[in-house]
Symmetry: C2
Subunit: 301 residues, 2 copies
């Protein structure tokens, strides 16, 4: 932000509001026999998420000259996938977390069975959001089907779920930097990268533009995860909504744990520079993406 | 079968073999860092399923004059969804089953965490199978996107997951026939109906043909569930691969439990007749679907 007059805070607040409004429309008001399921799904969907993935998706569409409104259902789909992954990750059989963003986790409120089903619901309906766009004709169907493919690739065994498995295995076996990087690229990086790629694709970007924004996403994802791990070591509990040091307490091998703080901060800076380089040929429309990735180096939460 | 010269047994064995071969190609050989995830997914995918949903899907495509080979990825997607639902249903927090089809359930072999992730994998990749069809150009992309929508609707909160929630709630509250029928329509009926609807749609059926096969699917689904519940009361353990009476032991309120055996058998017959009536305008190509639904009344497993 220091290198630009762009007001990131105002921009993020506005975009978050737009995404929140759209997410409200994605699932019906809890009623009838599905009531508990919809309540549980909505509970986690509106538990204080920053809407990073949808915002990145909408921004990628804007950068290539697309209409962010047409891309909104796909942006919401990314938040559905992210939210389902948090619900399942928090389960007793997985990370066994009682709190997230300062609120009781889904299974603490609704019980394990409903939490599993609420996660399954959000995962399933994510693809429905993309498919629903077919009706208004605002986006070409072949690109929507390509977006389904990208979402599967980034969130399935080749992406997020694959990373989650490694995360679980890391707790009980010897871990090196290669494995931690593999985990980062898959567990968080893949979905963040897909947010940019899907946004650029549905926004009507050229193959070259889609590649550039995908590259931005890859480096953004790595910078995001490293700075997240740094926050867990150095952060303030209040700003984060969770207790610093919780990864270390669970014996999680993170990037800074393996390399030390100095090298981790250096790596984060390098990824931010690479992300900025990927945006070099874009005009002022890319200011938000530039400000967002720079912000990772000074984030407090 | 008694009313037709059609050899259902030979037909089913051949189709099952074709589906099994296709399913083998849907996920790579377990290797690398995703090894456990792919092993666990494959374990349940090849744990003795009868491939009913894929077979119904392929058959619906054939009845309307389509090429079953082009529809195979979507047929496999239906089996992926069915298999993921079994893995998650069997979890300790859900039905807590140790055995299915005579084999240890996924979480008994791989642990709960991996079982949750394997279910998530199959659910996610199901949509990837439909999207993958876009590349060979054998099916129109708008119909593939419509198939994604139908799969979401039938397996999400409006369908299978909604039915699963009611099934859980039925264990602890007063249940009437309306609720049991709601559960049947959603938990098993929706995905079976979608198998027919997706097959007819991707096979190139007219809207009228798609509606007829959908109606067949609705009645097939209900007859299937009622005869399944009857088997649980009257069936032989060996043929079923599970212990008869296990629903009663769990205090599950099934259709025959609420209506008695005579009325339940009558209802099953009526649904079979309705399913056959829905096929009235189709020629000999529909013999397999006719034989299949008649078979429900004499099934032993």
């Amino acid at each position: 932000m220091q290198e630009s007059s762009f007001d990131l805070k105002v921009f993020l607040a506005e975009r978050k509001e737009q995404v929140d409004q759209a997410l409200q429309q994605c699932l019906p008001t809890p009623a009838g026999l599905e009531k508990t399921l919809l309540e549980a799904s909505r509970y986690s969907l509106f538990a204080g998420g920053k809407r990073l993935r949808p915002i990145l998706c909408l921004q990628a569409a804007e950068v290539v000259g697309g209409d962010w409104r047409a891309v909104m259902p796909a942006a919401c789909a990314l938040e559905f996938i992210h939210t389902y992954s948090l619900i399942h990750d928090d389960l007793p059989a997985m990370d066994n977390d009682d709190f997230r963003r300062g609120k009781p986790t889904n299974h603490k409120v609704f019980g394990e069975a409903v939490a599993i089903l609420a996660g399954d619901t959000l995962l399933t309906e994510a693809f429905g959001l993309i498919a629903s766009t077919r009706q208004n004709g605002s986006l070409p169907v072949d690109k929507l089907l390509e977006a389904v493919h990208l979402l599967v690739k980034s969130s399935g065994y080749r992406g997020m779920i694959g990373g989650q498995l490694i995360d679980l295995e890391c707790e009980t076996r010897e871990v090196d930097l290669v494995m931690v990087e593999y985990m980062h690229v898959h567990k968080t990086g893949a979905l963040i990268t897909a947010s940019l790629e899907i946004g650029a694709l549905l926004g009507g970007g050229s193959p070259q533009q889609v590649r550039q924004l995908t590259r931005y996403g890859q480096h953004f994802g790595l910078a995001f995860q490293i700075t997240d791990d740094l926050l867990d070591i150095e952060g303030e509990a209040e700003a984060m909504g969770k207790t610093p040091g919780s990864d270390a307490a669970k014996n999680k091998k993170t990037y800074p744990v393996l390399t030390g703080l100095v090298r981790a901060k250096q790596a984060a800076r390098e990824h931010v520079d690479e992300a900025l380089a990927a945006l070099a040929t874009f005009d002022d429309k890319a200011e938000a993406l530039r400000a967002l990735v720079r912000y990772l180096l000074v984030r407090k939460a």
